[in-house]
C-alpha cells in the first residue's frame, strides 16, 4: 500500500516536472507571439478559477455564481497596487481623477492582496448569503457579482478605480522580472508557477480533514451536522478560500490581458467557468484543468478559422465568417452535455493507472500480462 502510494507520488512529481520543463523549452524556442502561449496562459488561468469554483460547487455542494465578481476584485486590486507611482501621478492612466493610492507594491504582494481582498468580500457576503440554499445561493451570488461590477464603474470611486476607464501599465506579464535581477521572467512559466502552487494548495485542502468535512456537507448536510460539523463555518471557509483563488486568477487574467476594465467581468465569464467545470466533471480537479485547456484551445485557436474564412484547408469566406465559430462551438457544447453528462472525468481524477487502462482498451493487441 505505502509502496504503491510512493510510486504514485513519484509518478505525479515526474509528470508535473515534465510539464514545467516542456513550458520552459517552449519559452525559449517558439516565437513569443505564438498562439500556443495564449492558449497555455489563458488555459492555466481558467484552470485555476475553474478549480476554485469546483472546490465550491463540486466538493462543498454550494452552487455559487459569483466567480466573475471575485475575479474582478482580484484584478483591480492587483492592477491598482502594482501600477508604479509615477504612472499613477501622470495623466497616462488616471486622466480624469487623482489616484488616491499613493504607493506601489511588487508582484508578489499584489497577487496575495488580490486574493485577500476577494476573500474578505467573500467573507462579508457569505455571512447572509450562505444561509440560503441551492438556487437561491446561485441567484444571490450572481447578483453580487453584477453589483460589484456596477460599483467599480461608478464615477464616485474614480480616484480608486479610474471609473469606467481602463487600468494599464501595471506589472503585467511583459513587465515582471526574476527576483533580485532585471532579467524578464518567462511569462508563461510565471503563470504556470502561480497556478501550479495555487492548485496544489487546493488539492492539499481537499485531501485534508477540512476537505473531508466539505464533502460530507455536500453528501448530506443533516448527517454532517449530526457528526458535529458546523455547517455555516465550513461553508464560509470553503467560500472564502474559493474566492481567494478566484481573486488570484483575476489578477493573473489582468496580467495576461495587460489591461483591466470592469466590463470584462460580466456574468458570461462566470458561465464560461461553469461550463468548463461541467465539461471537466463536477468534483474532478484534473477534469477542470483538462477542460479549461481544451475550451481555450478550441475557442481561441482551433476554431478560429471558422471566423476567418478558412477552416481545415476549406476556403469558404461566405460561410466561415464572423460569428460562425460561436455557432459551431455551441453545437459542440450541446453534444458534450448530452452525451457526456458527467463530464470528461466524472468525479474521478486523472491517474497513470486510468490512463494505462484507457490505452489498453484502445489497443486490443497489447492486453497481454
Amino acid at each position: 500500500m505505502d509502496r504503491e502510494k510512493r510510486n504514485h507520488l513519484i509518478r505525479l512529481f515526474v509528470a508535473i516536472a515534465a510539464v514545467y520543463i516542456f513550458i520552459t523549452i517552449l519559452e525559449f524556442t517558439l516565437r513569443p507571439t505564438s498562439i500556443v502561449f495564449t492558449v497555455l496562459r489563458k488555459g492555466a488561468i481558467y484552470s485555476l478559477v475553474a478549480v476554485s469554483m469546483n472546490l465550491l460547487n463540486g466538493f462543498t455542494g454550494l452552487f455559487s455564481l459569483g466567480q466573475a465578481g471575485f475575479m474582478l476584485l482580484g484584478a483591480y486590486t492587483y492592477a491598482i497596487l502594482t501600477m508604479p507611482l509615477s504612472v499613477k501621478q501622470s495623466e497616462r492612466v488616471y486622466k480624469y481623477y487623482d489616484c488616491i493610492v499613493q504607493f506601489d507594491t511588487g508582484v508578489f504582494i499584489g497577487l496575495i492582496a488580490a486574493g485577500l481582498v476577494a476573500a474578505f468580500f467573500a467573507f462579508l457576503i457569505g455571512l447572509p448569503v450562505l444561509r440560503l440554499k441551492s438556487d437561491y445561493l446561485a441567484i444571490a451570488t450572481l447578483g453580487f457579482a453584477e453589483i460589484i461590477r456596477a460599483i467599480f464603474q461608478w464615477d464616485v470611486l474614480g480616484p480608486l478605480t479610474n471609473g469606467a476607464n481602463l487600468l494599464r501599465e501595471f506589472k503585467d506579464l511583459s513587465r515582471i522580472t526574476i527576483p533580485f535581477t532585471d532579467i524578464p521572467f518567462p511569462p508563461t512559466l510565471f503563470v504556470f508557477i502561480v497556478v501550479g502552487i495555487s492548485i496544489l494548495l487546493i488539492v492539499l485542502l481537499i485531501n485534508s480533514s477540512y476537505g473531508r468535512a466539505f464533502k460530507a456537507i455536500r453528501d448530506d448536510e443533516t448527517a454532517a451536522e449530526a457528526m458535529g460539523i458546523n455547517l455555516f463555518r465550513h461553508k464560509e471557509l470553503s467560500f472564502v478560500i474559493s474566492s481567494f483563488f478566484a481573486g488570484i486568477s483575476g489578477a493573473l487574467l489582468a496580467m495576461f490581458q495587460y489591461t483591466v476594465q470592469a466590463q470584462q467581468f460580466r456574468t458570461v465569464l462566470t458561465y464560461e467557468i461553469l461550463l468548463i467545470v461541467v465539461i471537466g466533471g463536477i468534483g474532478s480537479i484534473s477534469g477542470s484543468c483538462i477542460a479549461s485547456f481544451l475550451y481555450i484551445a478550441l475557442s481561441e485557436w482551433w476554431l478560429r478559422g471558422l471566423d476567418m474564412g478558412t477552416f481545415l484547408g476549406i476556403e469558404a469566406p461566405d460561410l466561415f465568417r464572423s460569428g460562425f465559430r460561436r455557432l459551431v462551438f455551441s453545437v459542440i457544447i450541446m453534444v458534450i452535455v448530452l452525451f457526456f453528462s458527467r463530464g470528461i472525468m466524472g468525479d474521478k481524477e486523472l491517474s497513470y493507472e486510468r490512463f494505462r487502462n484507457g490505452i489498453r482498451r484502445l489497443v486490443p493487441g497489447r492486453r497481454a500480462r
Binding site: 448530506d220 443533516t222 448527517a223 451536522e225 449530526a226 458535529g228
Partner: protein, 232 residues
C-alpha cells in the same frame, strides 16, 4: 446520567413533543417506542441539537445542554445515528468513519481498529464508497461512524428500518455488544418487540406525550402494549 425534564418541542408548526420527562442511567439501554408521528425522532433531534426546544431542560452529567449547537453536544459525548442511516455515499467507508471523529484531536487509529473489530464487514469494504454498501452494511457504517466520536451516549433512530429480519437480528446483537463495552444507548424503534427485548427500560410515546413506562420485560407482557405495538 442523562435526564430530560418537561421537554416541549414545536416542529413543522405542530407541537410534536409535549412536556415529556425521562432519564437514561449510565450504562443502560433505554428505548422509546411508539407509532409514526409520536414525536420520537423529534425528541432525539432535539437532544442532538438539530432542533431547538420550546421549553424544558436537557441535562447530561450535571450540565444543562438545552439548545446547544450539535457540535457542542457531540463534543460532550452524545452522538446521533440518524434515521435512514444517512451515510455519505460519495465518501469511502474509511472516510465516513474519519468524519465521525471530526471533532476529536489526536490519534484515531485505535478507534478505527475498534470499529473494524465490531464490524469486520466494514474492514473488507474499507475502500468502497459508502453508497455501494448494502442496507445492513450501511447501518453498520452509520453506527460505526457514530462510535468514532467516542460517545458516552449513543442515540439510534430506527436502526432496523428497511432491513431484512436476519440483518435486524445482527444489528440488535451489535447494539447489545456496544452496550457491554460501556456505551449508554437511547434507542427509538417501531420494531417494539426487538427493542423491548434488549432494553432495560422502555417508554411508550403517543402523539407527543409519554403514556407508559416500565422495565423492558414488563412492557413486553403488558396487555396495552401488546395490543398496540406487538400485534396481539
Amino acid at each position: 446520567m442523562f435526564e430530560i425534564s418537561n421537554l416541549s418541542v414545536n416542529y413543522g408548526g405542530i407541537e410534536a413533543v409535549r412536556d415529556i420527562s425521562f432519564s437514561v442511567p449510565d450504562g443502560s439501554i433505554v428505548t422509546l417506542i411508539g407509532a409514526n408521528g409520536a414525536g420520537k425522532s423529534t425528541t432525539l433531534r432535539t437532544i442532538a441539537g438539530l432542533v431547538k426546544p420550546r421549553s424544558g431542560r436537557i441535562v447530561f452529567n450535571g450540565e444543562d445542554i438545552t439548545g446547544k449547537d450539535p457540535a457542542y453536544i457531540v463534543g460532550k459525548g452524545i452522538t446521533l445515528v440518524p434515521e435512514g442511516r444517512r451515510i455519505f455515499p460519495d465518501l469511502t467507508v474509511l472516510e465516513n468513519l474519519k468524519i465521525g471523529a471530526y471533532l476529536r484531536t489526536g490519534s484515531i487509529e485505535d478507534d478505527i481498529e475498534w470499529v473494524y473489530r465490531l464490524f469486520p464487514r466494514l474492514r473488507e469494504r474499507s475502500w468502497q464508497f459508502g453508497g455501494t454498501l448494502s442496507g445492513g452494511e450501511q447501518q453498520m457504517l452509520a453506527v460505526g461512524r457514530a462510535l468514532m466520536s467516542r460517545p458516552k451516549l449513543i442515540m439510534m433512530d430506527e436502526p432496523s428500518l428497511g432491513l431484512a429480519p436476519l440483518v435486524v437480528r445482527d444489528i440488535f446483537s451489535i447494539i447489545k455488544k456496544i452496550n457491554e463495552e460501556g456505551v449508554t444507548i437511547l434507542l427509538i424503534e417501531q420494531n417494539a418487540n426487538m427493542a423491548l427485548q434488549v432494553a432495560d427500560t422502555g417508554y411508550v410515546m403517543e402523539t407527543g406525550v409519554i403514556t407508559l413506562s416500565g422495565k423492558g420485560s414488563d412492557l413486553i407482557s403488558d396487555e396495552g402494549v401488546r395490543k398496540a405495538y406487538l400485534g396481539g
